[in-house]
Every structure is written in C-alpha cells, then in structure tokens.
C-alpha cells in the first residue's frame, strides 16, 4: 500500500468514525414541546393585524383576552379570562367587564382596564384586515373613545344596536381581542403607527407564553410565563419548527426529535399509526369545501337544477378515497363544533333523482365552466364532479388557475360554477351565516364582493332578514334554533352545495397529552400540554 492509499484509507476511516458519533437526541426534554408545522403563513404577530392560522396559534398562547375558549372544554364556549365577569345593560347594547385583579403583562406592567380599552380601540383605529370583527358592532375610529372606554377597573363597550351577547363575546375570543400592554406598545410607536411595526415581530401580552423569537420560515420559540395567572405552563419552552415536507416531519417524529407533527399526508399518517410510541389525533377544523352555482346563469339559477347538482356529488366516494382522513362529509355552512351547527347531511349521489330534476327543469345538453384554484384536492373534487355530472348529461369544463385568475372571476360573478374553500373568521355562527346566507342588495352596483351570496349572484330572500335577526337574539338556545332553521332552508334552496369539512390529523409522541389544535373555533393551545 503506497502512502497515498494509506492516507485515503485513514481519512475515510476518520470521517466514518467522526460522522457516526453525531447522534440525534432520542427524545425532547420533558419540559419542552417541539412541533413541526408549516408556519410560512405568519406575516405579522400584531393581534390587531394577525389573521393567519400559524400567527393565530402564537397569539392565542401569548395574549390574554377578555374572554377565551378553554382548550380543555371548547364546547362550553367563552369563559372569563382577563375579564373576571361582565354585565349586560337592559337595552343589550352595553357590556361592562370587570377586570381580573393582580394580572401582569410579561413586562411586569399590571393589566388594567385602560390596556383593554386601548387594545380594542387600537384595533379599530388601525383598521387592518381583521378589524371588521370589531367594526361590525358599530365601532369606528371616530367613536371608539366613547364606545370603548375604561372606568376604574371596568371596561365598558357600547355597540351601535342590540346584539346577541354571545355574538359579541365570541368575537372577543378571536385573535383581534388580544389585550396588549399599552405602555410598552406606545413606547415603541413610530410615526403614529400605535406600535404596529414593532408588534409585527415582538409581543406585549400577558398570556401563558412570551415570544422568544420568530424567525420567518424557520421557527417560532415561546417561553413560559412563570407569573401567568392561571399557573405556569408545564412546557417551559415551545419550539415550532417550519418543516414543509411531510416525510421530513414524519422522520423527525419517528426519531424523537419532535413531539408533534402537524402536516402529515394520509400516507404518512397511516405509517405513523402503525408505529409504537406514536399516536394520531383528529380534530374537526373550520374549513369547508363547497361549490357555488352562478345565479345569473339562466339554467343554473333554476331551483330544480340547484337541487340536481346536490344529488350529483359523490360525497362518499370522495370522502373514502382521495379525501380520506382529511375531510368529512358536511352539508351545512356552519362547521361542526360551532354554535348552531347542524349535522343534517341529506344529500348523497343519486343520478336518477338528479336526472328527474333536470328533466323537470327542461334542461338538456348543458355545458358549463367550473373555476378551480390550483390545489390538488380541489382539482380532484372537480374531476369527480365532472364525472358524475357527465352521467346526468352535463358537460363540465374545468378551468384551473391561480387565486388572481379564479377568485377574480368569482368576485366578478363571471364563473358558472366556483369550487372553493371557506374558513370562518371568528368563533360565532354569524361569521359564515353573514356571508353565505346574507345579501341585502344583489344588484351588480352593490359590488358586495365580500359576501359569498353576492358573488354567487343569489338573493337569499327572507334568509337575509333571518340572519340579521339571529345576531340580535340574546337567548342562546333560541339563537341555536334560528341558525339550524336558516341552514335547513339554505340547504334546500341555495345555489351552494357545501360538501366537506376539514379534519386536521396531528401525529404525536404517545406521552404528549392534552394538545389541542383548537378545532374549528380557535387556534392551537400549548399551556395545558403535559408530557
């Protein structure tokens, strides 16, 4: 063996030994929660502006609110958080919150009624994307000083008319209801932005966690707040790592480098289910998959044709094949787990019945266009629809495009059929009822592009009034009944065929307990997690 060969062999051996010594950790520490998740949708951490899923997860754990949804009992609805109690005036327009005593922000500043008033006023004045959640109660930048005010330990909010108390309080559990530390935020104000620029990447909350760091498209680190009024969380540090690829998330989970993988595809979920030491948990999320038929179309606007379409969807076939584990059949505009949700799913694939309905409407040789955004599951649903419609003699041409192309046309009422997805904005039934079943002016001039009913060129008739009435009903049970009635009528008469509700499947180490992604109503919570 010559010198060169000896050198090469030695180098190779050395490399092998040194590389093999790089061992991965067998498991994460007992007081640390490591999650793999897609977090590239975080654009801001300011609760007055944040409106994305991953950002809401951060906000829910960092900011206290007046009222909150308990991850251990989501079905119970809102519970007191920074507000210890509240009273509603006789006219139903004023709610007076009594603030919890002795709670401090992460900065050490006390949480006061002034901070709560400032936070809500600030959200209205900044008027960022989610501001409508508050401004729908009549708050404007001009009147917030009067309509949202602090008096001693009380926060008093006055709405422009009487609303269901549950509606107002449900909205206050949303991200925009996060209470910020006024002193800290205003100390970081630049050019009158009320600290918006600073709060995009920093935190000023009083929740169970404080923001350690946010590295865009890389990680979010939360550090426990030992002074949290509800008790210090068991997980002292939560690290959410941005891992896009499902297979990579699975490998990290199997190697014990993470505790939770939140974006596994059905194949990887199936693989994880077979492994010892790992488990899979399902939670229903708020996202709905639906098709909308254009009310301006001479044929699609006929009631029989709308009905026929609802019998021409292979709900079960899709649920049990390419949507397996990811979506479940749901035919109502309120997602399951929402107040007033209905579990009635009366439609199933029935070609003969659909043909009879089409014949009744005098439809023959119909050819229409469906717009679909370029997402795999939506394209597959469109293809399934194309197949079943063809069996009833309807030719469906599928146009696939970007949001700009497809959504732009839907907003302009230009598509025959739109296949889309919709997620609720806040945990109250009005969030979906107010867009699916409410359209006070269906004229083109109204240009109410924010309303799905308008985009579909559909006049919901008395449903608009019923929806408006439901938001003012103060009795919870009556309100539930109202939404169920609205949905029953909506199912039969509307040009919308709601098809599926999303399921989120998380894969976890077996020792991780009490993790909640927030179901359909809220975001992920970490403070109750134990290992």
């Amino acid at each position: 063996m010559n010198v060169m060969n000896r050198l090469l062999c030695g180098a190779a051996l050395g490399l092998a030994v040194s590389v093999s010594s790089f061992g991965a950790w067998a498991e994460t520490p007992a007081n640390m929660l490591v999650i793999a998740h897609r977090i590239d949708d975080i654009t801001t951490l300011d609760p007055a502006e944040s409106f994305e899923f991953a950002g809401s997860d951060v906000s829910r754990n960092v900011y206290g609110r007046l009222v909150y949804l308990d991850p251990a009992d989501l079905s119970a609805g809102y519970k007191p958080d920074l507000a210890e109690s509240w009273e509603v005036s006789e006219d139903g327009m004023t709610i007076t919150f009594t603030m919890r005593e002795g709670v401090k922000f992460h900065s050490g500043n006390p949480v006061r009624a002034e901070d709560a008033a400032f936070s809500l006023q600030r959200a209205v004045i900044l008027n960022k994307t989610p501001a409508f959640i508050l401004t729908q109660f009549g708050f404007t930048p001009e009147n917030v000083a009067e309509t949202i005010k602090a008096e001693g330990n009380k926060l008093i909010i006055t709405t422009d008319k009487k609303y269901a108390t549950s509606f107002v309080l449900n909205c206050l559990t949303a991200t925009i209801g996060g209470i910020v530390d006024m002193e800290l935020v205003m100390a970081n104000e630049v050019d009158g932005d009320m600290g918006n620029t600073w709060l995009k990447t920093n935190s000023a909350g009083s929740g169970p966690y404080t923001l350690g760091s946010w590295k865009p498209n890389e990680s979010v680190t939360l550090v426990s707040n030992p002074d949290y009024y509800g008790g210090a969380p068991a997980m002292e540090r939560v690290i959410v790592r941005h891992v896009i690829e499902s297979a990579s998330q699975r490998l990290l989970l199997e190697r014990g480098d993470i505790d939770i993988a939140r974006n596994l595809n059905p194949e990887d979920i199936a693989g994880v289910m077979e492994m010892d030491g790992l488990k899979v948990e399902d939670e229903l999320k708020g996202r709905l998959m639906y098709i909308a038929l254009n009310g301006n179309h001479p044929v699609l606007s006929k009631p029989e044709v709308r009905q026929a379409f609802k019998y021409l969807i292979d709900y079960e076939g899709m649920q049990n094949s390419f949507l397996k584990g990811q979506y479940t059949i749901h035919q109502n505009f309120l997602p399951a787990t929402y107040l007033g949700a209905s579990d009635e799913n009366p439609f199933s694939l029935n070609i003969e019945k659909a043909k009879a309905l089409l014949a009744e409407a005098g439809v023959e040789g119909l050819e229409i266009e469906a717009g679909v955004r370029e997402a795999q599951e939506r394209i597959e649903i469109a293809q399934s629809l194309q197949n079943t419609l063809a069996q009833a003699g309807i030719k469906l041409n599928i146009t696939v495009g970007t949001a700009k192309q497809i959504l732009g046309r839907f907003r302009a009422r230009d598509l025959d059929v739109y296949l889309g997805a919709w997620g609720p904005d806040y945990p109250d039934p009005q969030t979906n009822a107010g867009t699916f079943a409410y359209n006070p002016d269906n004229s083109d001039a109204a240009n109410a592009t924010g309303l799905l009913a308008w985009r579909t060129a559909w006049n919901p008739g008395d449903l608009t009034e019923k929806t408006a009435a439901a938001v003012t009903e103060t009795d919870r049970d009556t309100r539930i009944k109202m939404y169920q009635d609205i949905q029953a009528e909506f199912r039969e008469t509307s040009p919308f065929a709601i098809m599926f509700q999303q399921i989120e499947q998380s894969a976890l180490q077996e020792n991780v307990m009490n993790f909640s992604t927030g179901q359909a109503v809220t975001s992920a919570a970490y403070w109750q997690v134990t290992k």
Partner: protein, 357 residues
C-alpha cells in the same frame, strides 16, 4: 531621452502613472458598465414578469374576503394604478437606494430577509461545491486517464445517477438511511433545537460563527446537519464536474505535446497534472463557476426536504404567496451572484491563461 521627457523631469524608461493606470481604469469602467447594464436589464425583465404573472399582490394583502373598496384602496396604495413604466422607475429608484421594499410574508425589509437567508445558502452551496470539486475533478481525470477501464465505467454510472436521479427522492432516501435508520447525521434544519441561537451570528453561517465563537459542540452539531444536504448537492455537482473534466482531459491527453512529454520520459503524474491538467484549468473554472452559481441560486427542493432556510425556498415561498417585493429582491440578488461569479471567472482566466490578458 527626448527633450520632452527631460522637460517633464521624469526619469527615463518609466511610463507616466496615468498611462499605467489607464488600462486598469478602462477595464474597471467597462466591467462596471457591463454590470450596470446587465443589472438594469435583469431588473426590467424581472419586474415585467412579476407584473404580468397571474398573481394578485393586492389579494395577498387584503385577503379574499375583502370588500371592493378595501381592495381598490390597497391597489392604489401599492401604486398598481400607475402606468407600468412609472411603476418600474419607482421600483428602480428604491433599488438604487438598496430598498427592495418590505416582505408581505415576514414583515421585514426584503434586504434584511436576504441577509438572513443568503448565508444559509452560501454555507450549504460552498460546502456542496467543495465536495463536488474534491471528488469530481480527480474522478474525471482518473476516468480520462483510464479511459474504457472499470474506473471509467464506474465514473460514468456515478455521473449518470447524479444526472438522472430526482434530487427530491435522493434527499429523502438520504434522510431515511443516514438520519432515520443509522442516526449518523442530524435531521432537517440547520442545527439541533438545543443549539439554536447559542452562538452569536457574525457571518450568518453557523459553521463559521461557531468557530469564531470557539464553540465546537455547536460546530459538530451544525456539521452533522449540513453534511447530508451538502453531500447531496456535492454529488450533483460532482456528476457534472467529473464528466466535463473527463471530456477536457481526453482532448488534452490526445494532443501532441502530451505524447512528446511522454517520449521525453516524464513521469505519468507529471504529464497528467503538470501539463494536461494545467491546460484545462480555464475551462474547468467556467464549469465550476456555473455549478456554484446554480447552487447559490438556491436548490429549492433540497432546502424544502432539509428544512434549510435558504434563498431558494425564500423566493419560492414568496412567489407562491404573491409576495412580489421578496421575489424581485431575491431574483436581483441571484442575478447579481451570477454576474459576480462571471467577473470572478474572468479574473481567474487572466491569472491562469496569459493569453486572456
């Protein structure tokens, strides 16, 4: 000595300083001019492509539920209602002030984002190309020298696999075997969770920063995370570099001067490395520079599989989210890298090939 020289008081035989500097100045000016024109062209083309793409930056900001008035307000605020050429000049003005705008996705200035993600790519690409050169060049030379032998056949197969195997598949297989099964290397990410933010960022490259900080534990962990993706990229570079090296070498080895050298009794080592290889250096520089530029551009799939927060995945995520400021900023940086590597190659030509002077 002429009378004029005498009158200028200069010493005979030495050219005036301005005469000596002039060619250098001319070359520098020409290079800078060329860079400026190329960059301007790049900016223009990228800007136009970004504007005609079926992506709606307004929708990305306001969300799909926004009312028409909100949509119109943001449309106006972004200046999209102005003529395209006016928009371009506004953009150009900002870029000249090193202002690429603010990313919608990260809420940070794009320049700040690039300063964060580019070192990650630079670190990965540099290690990758180093591996590619260290193994690719000797393999190519060996394959040429032993043309038709089993070594040549192996080199061909190695290169063929490198060319044809999808990087996505190879990356996942690598992770599965070396991380998932054997546990030899670290998993996805630049560093283990225990070492994140342990060393202060100086260069943004964790290997270097940990050395600067003298923290060998972090260095070892970072190395265990980078070695697999870097080897993967190195393998793809190796495939290209080795085939090109083989081809260049075969051309040289069949030249008459090589035969003459052998006839003169020179050792084979001397003939191959001192004569034939010396003559392919210029061509090889181009090949390596192009490979390196390709890696620096960001290997998106590798970055996705290994959760590597580099410029490739940054631009891709931005593109998919209609974050056009980030897309434009990233593209300009990538273009700049290509230009700089070209200039660097030209300089190396002049060093290695006197004719290029």
């Amino acid at each position: 000595m002429s009378a004029q020289d005498m009158s200028n008081g200069r010493r005979p035989g030495r050219a005036p300083l301005s005469h000596a500097l002039w060619p250098l100045l001319k070359t520098t000016l020409r290079t800078l001019g060329s860079v400026a024109v190329t960059l301007l062209g790049l900016l223009f083309v990228t800007f136009i492509i970004a504007r005609v793409m079926p992506i709606d930056p307004v929708l990305a900001i306001v969300g799909e539920r926004a009312s028409q008035s909100t949509y119109d307000a943001v449309y106006h605020q972004l200046g999209l209602d102005k003529p395209l050429i006016v928009q371009f000049f506004y953009y150009l003005w900002d870029v000249l002030h090193l202002d690429f705008g603010t990313s919608l996705l990260t809420a940070h200035p794009v320049s700040q984002d690039i300063a964060r993600v580019f070192p990650a790519t630079l670190e990965l690409a540099t290690l990758g190309i180093t591996i590619g050169i260290l193994f690719g060049v000797p393999l190519g030379v060996l394959a040429a020298v032993r043309k038709g032998s089993w070594i040549d056949q192996i080199a061909r197969v190695v290169a063929l696999i490198g060319y044809s195997m999808p990087i996505f598949w190879l990356g996942l297989m690598g992770l599965l075997v070396f991380y998932g099964v054997l546990g030899w290397v670290g998993g996805p990410g630049r560093v283990g969770i225990f070492y994140a933010d342990v060393v202060p960022p100086v260069t943004g490259m964790i290997l270097l920063d940990s050395l600067i900080d003298g923290n060998l534990e972090v260095f070892r962990d970072a190395f265990s995370h980078i070695i697999l993706p870097a080897s993967l990229l190195g393998y793809y570079s190796l495939a290209y570099i080795s085939r090109m090296t083989r081809s260049f070498m075969l051309e040289q080895l069949s030249a008459e001067y090589v035969t003459t050298a052998r006839v003169k009794g020179m050792s084979e080592w001397h003939v191959i490395w001192r004569h034939a290889f010396r003559n392919i250096r210029v061509q090889l520089i181009t090949v390596i520079a192009l490979s390196y530029a390709g890696l620096l551009e960001g290997s998106v799939l590798t970055e996705i599989i290994f959760s590597w927060p580099g410029i490739g995945s940054y631009i891709t995520t931005a593109l998919l989210s209609a974050d056009m400021s980030a897309v434009l900023g990233g593209t300009v940086v990538v273009g700049l890298i290509f230009i700089l590597l070209n200039i660097f190659s030209d300089l190396l030509y002049k060093i290695f090939d006197p004719r290029a002077k």
